[in-house]
């Protein structure tokens, strides 16, 4: 499509949408779908038809994640934005009765509560608003207009400059400056260059990338297109875990639509820019989220990491310079190019810019997906947005960063959420999983859970990770069954230090973090276990 065609198609769709007096947006993402949200949508359509309400008056529309998954299935109403919670297919008549007035009390979800009011939505701006399976919807929301402008008006250097100015850092966990990575790939000699999207989200309790792909897949594709133009890549791969069937299906649809409309392939937007994107499904190995292991997996080899350098930017997929970012990083790109790097840099803190999507799970009132500006405190996330732990329990710790992160206790809840602050607490930002634990959780048990995860997910290439995780798991088990001795505690600490310092890749290097942080903040539990065992 030429830039004019993109504009025209968006305009037509917008006019079409403006004609409707009411839209019922039903979440059909993976959170609400198992709760019969597809049936809800069918029931609403049938009810509307029975009442003789045409689609031009009230459209029932399938959308992505509406955020507050714990209260699902959710339905949102346009134009006033009112929301219905815990909807069942039987509620269809009640919902249609309430059009034009407030939702019935048992379905009413207050959208003025902090959970919604305190969010800043960039990556999730279209989530729950557009139909993820319709390109027209994305176009009407302004999609691909930025791509068209970038391709026709900006040089690759200008694009990289804008990303550098924005201060965007990798959202996959490491927090590497995105602009720097892009310029390294752009400068690396060798063709063809490759671009990879890492959608192998594997942290327990994390579902940010899945949600983005299920709710707004074109945003990520547009981000990849802009990135590929900036670094000069012509081959693209999306590596997504096979455990995400819905995200894969929607991504496939989106890729097909983009190809059909000339937004992928040759001469994109009538320019000389070409990009093909292929999907690769991960076979369920956590370590394949590590970039060199991911590349090995795409190449058809066993998914094991290799020592860096050389970094993928220099020698990546099939030996070519390769840019690899995760879903959320790419999803930020269209907005940065649309509104400018300065705008993005105005959000967040000194060294962590923009917003971050978090998945709130565990012992918390509002389970779901949030997008907040960097620098917000953990307390605000847990108690304001998350609504605190359910009644009758007391907050104990929040676990960030998955198996590579750590458990942060109550006294540090006023810490701002940014890369450096979380690291200074012994945890990491990670990809965005946040598990809230109450006083019924044993922190040794939590540490052992994550150690078990790392142990079974270790690829086995290097001995510190292969055996170190087994030994640590065994030692933690001794604390839990009361057979631990003081020497075990010393050995555990030695092991943490050794595995952290000597492992080959990030999985092993960060595997001890849950143990280290629980030792740091919840030492009395370990001491009590020693005393209880009487050794």
């Amino acid at each position: 499509m030429s830039p004019d065609e993109i504009r025209g198609m968006a305009e037509r769709e917008r006019e079409h949408q403006a004609g409707r007096s009411c839209v019922l947006q039903v979440c059909t993402a993976a959170g609400c779908q198992p709760m019969q949200s597809v049936e809800i949508k069918t029931a609403l359509e049938a009810e509307a038809k029975a009442r003789g309400i045409g689609e031009h008056q009230c459209q029932v529309k399938s959308v992505g994640c509406l955020g507050l998954c714990g209260s699902g299935p959710l339905v949102r109403r346009e134009p006033d934005g009112a929301m219905y919670q815990r909807v069942t297919p039987g509620d269809a008549p009640a919902i249609l009765d309430s059009l034009g007035s407030a939702p019935p009390t048992h379905l009413f979800l207050d959208t003025r509560q902090p959970f919604f009011a305190r969010q800043t939505r960039i990556v999730t701006a279209n989530s729950g608003r557009i139909d993820p399976e319709r390109l027209e919807d994305y176009l009407a929301a302004g999609g691909y207009a930025t791509l068209a402008r970038v391709l026709t008006e900006m040089s690759p250097q200008e694009v990289i400059g804008e990303i550098t100015r924005s201060g965007l850092r990798g959202r996959g966990g490491g927090g590497y400056p995105t602009g720097l990575k892009w310029s390294t790939v752009a400068k690396s000699p060798g063709t063809p260059k490759t671009i990879i999207c890492n959608a192998d989200e594997g942290d327990p309790g994390a579902f940010m990338d899945r949600s983005v792909l299920e709710s707004d897949p074109h945003r990520m594709i547009e981000g990849m297109l802009i990135a590929a133009y900036a670094v000069g890549a012509s081959e693209g791969y999306i590596y997504i875990r096979a455990e995400y069937p819905l995200a894969i299906a929607r991504l496939k649809t989106a890729l097909r639509h983009a190809e059909r409309h000339g937004l992928l392939g040759n001469n994109i937007c009538g320019t000389r820019f070409n990009l093909r994107i292929e999907l690769r499904l991960g076979a369920g190995a956590f370590v394949c989220g590590e970039e060199t292991a991911l590349i090995a997996s795409i190449e058809g080899n066993r998914g094991t990491p290799r020592p860096r350098p050389p970094y993928p930017a220099e020698r990546g997929l099939f030996g070519h310079p390769t840019l690899i970012n995760n879903v959320e990083t790419y999803a930020n790109v269209p907005s940065i190019l649309e509104r400018g790097g300065e705008w993005f840099a105005g959000i967040g803190t000194e060294r962590s810019k923009g917003t971050k999507v978090f998945a709130l799970t565990g012992s918390i009132a509002n389970t779901g997906l949030i997008e907040v500006p960097m620098g917000i405190t953990l307390r605000d996330i847990v108690f304001e947005i998350g609504g605190g732990v359910p009644e009758g329990a007391r907050f104990k710790a929040v676990q960030t960063g998955g198996p590579s992160g750590g458990c942060i206790p109550e006294q540090y809840l006023n810490t701002p959420v940014d890369y450096e602050s979380l690291m200074s607490l012994g945890s990491i930002m990670g990809s965005g999983g946040m598990i809230i634990m109450d006083d019924s959780s044993s922190m040794i048990d939590v540490a052992r859970y994550f150690m078990e995860f790392c142990m079974t997910e270790s690829c086995g290439k290097c001995i510190p990770c292969r055996m170190g995780t087994v030994e640590m798991h065994e030692l933690l088990g001794r604390f839990l069954n009361g057979s631990a001795a003081k020497a075990d505690l010393d050995l555990l600490e030695d092991l943490c230090e050794m595995v952290k310092s000597t492992s080959l890749c990030g999985l092993g290097q960060s595997a001890p973090n849950p143990v280290l942080t629980t030792l740091r903040y919840f030492r009395p539990e370990y001491d009590a276990a020693l005393a209880a065992g009487g050794r």
């Binding site: 290439k461 290097c462 001995i463 055996m467 030994e471 310092s501 000597t502 492992s503 080959l504």
Partner: protein
């Protein structure tokens, strides 16, 4: 190979090496000993055993000497209390992982793992032995694979894939369940791709791969073919 010569310091000694050389190569040229296990001259590096980790001034992490290239002015420390501690723990873990009983092993006295333990002064193992029940594959006419003695250094995988070009060996499973396998985990004797060249047996650091008919302590490995082959094929590892 690039012609530029770089100077750096290893253990306080001024040394020089060609650009693109690794810390390990330069150290060995200057008779500075860095212990290794998965490294074999002539094979592509795996960087897997973590025994050759060294401290490099200014680097946040410990770096494997076998794959880290030297840089002008680089200051490397190959020995420190910390490094020794980690190397010992690494070897202890390798011993605890499977069933390494030297006295009955065909490679007793000719074993790289045993030698490593002796040089590092590993005289006891703090980790509980795991004693896994692992198979012994003696289906091949001339060789035996005993997984109880395998340290997963991947030397057999690399020599078979890169030097012999057969790619009979590979790895299956993950973590502690990893096993080296022939073809798609078929008995070695039934492997269609194996050329029976025996290179894997000769590069194996322990008694995991051995020749049939050898008794305890009789399996000394012959590795001289490797530098010869790489030299003849125009490689630069000698």
């Amino acid at each position: 190979m690039a012609g530029r010569v770089l100077t750096c310091q290893i253990d306080g000694q001024d040394v020089s090496g060609l650009e693109e050389s690794t810390i390990l190569e330069v150290a060995r040229e200057h008779h500075i000993r860095i212990p290794t296990l998965c490294h074999v001259p002539g094979l592509p590096e795996a960087g897997a055993c973590r025994v050759c980790l060294v401290e490099v001034e200014g680097a946040a992490r410990l770096l494997p000497a076998c794959v880290t290239r030297i840089a002008e002015g680089m200051k490397v420390k190959t020995e420190s209390e910390r490094l020794l501690k980690y190397r010992r723990m690494t070897v202890e873990m390798l011993f605890a992982e499977r069933n390494h009983i030297c006295s009955v092993c065909v490679s007793n006295g000719h074993c790289d793992l045993q030698w490593l333990a002796q040089t590092l002064g590993v005289d006891h193992i703090r980790f509980p032995y795991r004693y896994p029940a692992l198979p012994v594959d003696s289906s091949h006419a001339r060789f035996v694979a005993d997984h109880n003695r395998c340290v997963l250094c991947l030397r057999c995988v690399r020599v078979c894939g890169e030097i012999e070009g057969a790619h009979t060996w590979d790895v299956m499973g993950r973590g502690a369940d990893c096993l080296v396998i022939t073809d798609l985990a078929q008995p070695w004797g039934e492997s269609a791709s194996c050329t029976s060249c025996g290179k894997c047996v000769q590069v194996c650091p322990t008694g995991a791969l051995s020749e049939k008919g050898k008794s305890a302590g009789e399996m000394a490995k012959q590795r001289r073919f490797l530098p010869y082959l790489t030299l003849m094929r125009g490689g630069n590892h000698v």
